[in-house]
Amino acid sequence: MVGGLPTSTVNGFAAHPTNPQLMYVAMRDGVFRSDNAGENWTRAANGPKNVAAVAINAKRPTEVYAATAEGKLFRSTDGGTQWAEARRVGP
């Protein structure tokens, strides 16, 4: 078991494409980031909760996406520190 995370369901996982020590998980409690391959984790304080999936933009790895179980999308452009909800438009 990788330490430091809540013992609950991990819904999603993403590792940085060129720095694989950096990774994110998606959990009910939010998005967690590790910079040392999962030894320690930090929850994104102002990030979304009830997160179903997380992904890194492979072309711009500081850009991280988190989708919630409620169907909302959040994006961070600074590697998971600040998050903003995406606004959905159109049909």
């Binding site: 369901t9 819904n11 996982f13 998980v25 072309k59 995406a86």
Partner: protein
């Protein structure tokens, strides 16, 4: 219906959603050209060729009328090669960008595949997490031509499986599994 997004402020996102799984295109796609949608929410496989503006259902050659797609993973260098894990029919593979698909289940003792991870250092090597019948972790060394069961797998239902390019010091890399019991990590040299 999921809708397109348009950028309106610095903090809002220009993004489009997959009409089925609800993931943003940047998140749902798994090849570098952004064509494939991973609909791991018990729905089918969809493909977009216009960066998510429109989507077409991809028909997989299965006996089942509907297959639930659980995971999609693409070759890191050759985006024409894509693998799909399904709930009912095991693994499918295309080597021509989706023009043709074939089952890649030889050696799998079950067809409920919940996780699929491609090795970033050796893309012919993949691991699959099988549930229920024949449950366990399976490995192929030849791009899905033959699978061999290599481990019982992590405890708890596997939600996501990923090969991470961190050397174990034993000749392999680490396999991470997101499960119902947390995140688990194992060297892939079972």
């Amino acid at each position: 219906m999921r809708a397109a997004l348009e950028e309106t402020t610095a903090t809002q996102v220009t993004e489009r959603y997959c009409p089925v799984c609800g993931k943003p295109v940047a998140e749902a796609t798994h090849n570098r050209f952004g064509e494939w949608c991973c609909s791991d929410a018990h729905s089918g496989l969809y493909r977009s060729e216009d960066e998510g503006r429109s989507w077409q259902l991809v028909s997989l050659p299965s006996k089942h009328p509907h297959v639930d797609v659980m995971a999609v993973t693409a070759h890191p260098e050759d985006a024409r090669m894509v693998y799909v894990a399904t709930h009912e029919a095991g693994v499918f593979k295309t080597a021509d960008g989706g023009k043709s698909w074939h089952e890649a289940n030889a050696g799998l003792a079950g067809v409920d595949v919940h996780g699929l991870a491609i090795d970033p250092r050796d893309p012919q090597k993949l691991h699959a997490a099988v549930r229920d019948k024949g449950d366990g972790i399976y490995r192929t060394m030849d791009g899905g031509a033959k699978w061999v069961r290599v481990d019982d797998g992590p405890g708890g239902e596997v939600k996501v499986l990923s090969s991470v390019n961190i050397s174990t010091g034993m000749g392999g890399i680490f396999l991470y599994a997101g499960t119902a019991e947390g995140l688990q990590r194992n060297p892939d040299c079972f």
